[in-house]
């Protein structure tokens, strides 16, 4: 069942979203060549706990870390490791936090040092497609209007949209109904109502949209080992403009 949140619930989600956004802003400053991704995980956990929240991903379905750190061809759910970031890498950081039983979830892809112009274009396309999707999250629209807007934008750049992983509803649980695919025909799925909260997250690949999961059963990489970018915001559908909850 898709739940519509009350103003009180939305306030809790705003709090959680603010912590997520601030953590991402902190981490963006820390991303540079030579930093191991495990260090980013440690910083994130420290910051989230200091802000009075709880890292939402740690322990979620058995995921062992606070952040998902997916480097280059890793699409999502990358494990923070001792691998040091190198100049020219791109890293997608996905973070979730919980306050008062409500969740916020957001992700960004950050270039490390000087990256190639193709990688920058991919990042730009992924971010732009996220905002195109968010624009469509209005009361009365259908769920797949969001999906279609994302797909059209990303494919317009010549990139592909991951099919096997999708966005989701969010609220008192980090994954709620409905699933929000990043592809599909417009005008399908449930109608959006004010109070619905969604995590919209396009995962855009430079090559094929096909992905595979590594033997740790978590990390998803592109099948052709080409780069992938990931952006995400938690939003609330209102009777006017959609509200982005994970923005500073």
């Amino acid at each position: 069942m898709i739940t519509c949140k009350s103003e009180k619930e939305l306030n809790y989600m705003r709090d959680a979203g603010r912590v997520v956004a601030q953590t991402l802003a902190e981490l963006s400053k820390a991303v540079k060549a030579g930093v191991p991704t495990r260090e980013l995980d440690r910083m994130a956990e420290e910051f989230i706990v200091k802000s009075g929240a709880r890292p939402a991903f740690k322990g979620l379905y058995g995921f062992p870390y606070t952040i998902c750190a997916s480097v280059n061809e890793e699409v999502v759910h990358g494990f923070p490791s001792l691998r040091k970031l190198e100049n020219g890498d791109i890293i997608s950081i996905d973070i979730g936090a919980e306050i008062n039983g409500y969740y916020g979830d957001s992700a960004v892809t950050i270039p490390v040092g000087e990256v190639s112009s193709e990688a920058m274009r991919l990042i730009k396309a992924a971010e732009e497609s996220l905002y195109k999707g968010i624009e469509r999250a209005r009361e009365g629209a259908r769920l797949s209007d969001i999906s279609h807007a994302i797909q059209t934008c990303a494919e317009g750049y010549g990139y592909s949209v991951v099919r096997d992983f999708v966005g989701h509803g969010i609220g008192s649980s980090p994954h709620e109904e409905p699933q929000v695919p990043n592809f599909g025909r417009p005008g399908r799925g449930p109608r959006l109502k004010a109070g619905m909260t969604l995590a919209i997250e396009p995962m855009i690949n430079m090559g094929t949209y096909e992905v595979r999961t590594l033997s740790n059963n978590w990390t998803v990489v592109t099948l052709d080992a080409k780069l992938s970018a990931h952006f995400e915001h938690t939003i609330a559908v209102t009777d006017g403009e959609p509200e982005i909850l994970t923005k500073v």
């Binding site: 999502v76 996905d94 979830d105 096997d164 992983f165 994954h175 109904e177 699933q179 997250e201 999961t213």
Partner: protein, 118 residues
Amino acid sequence: MAESVGSGNSLQGTGWRQPAAGARNAAQIGHLVSSIKGRDRGKFYLVVGIESQSMVRVADGEARKVENPKRKNIKHLNFFEVIAGEVSDKALSGKRITNADIRKELKSLAAIINKCSS
């Protein structure tokens, strides 16, 4: 954190294409499967590799060896709730799975399945 397609049932009944329920999440190395589509319909295999969320590699150790496994869409397979322990353990500990392992496991597992269904 991105959600895996098929892990929820939110879009069921709204006209969205959904993968075979359960199978996607259940697929793992050593899983006993039988083909339900294709010229090999009815044959038993073990899953020896997971290529993507929708494709797995299967082998029976005879016509389809570990070196040359068959790619199968998970929609075209019937997943039994049986996992070949030896194969799965070997895969998890990083050892090589041999054709003889698969033949041996398939023989014993398929016999159990046939006995249950008859």
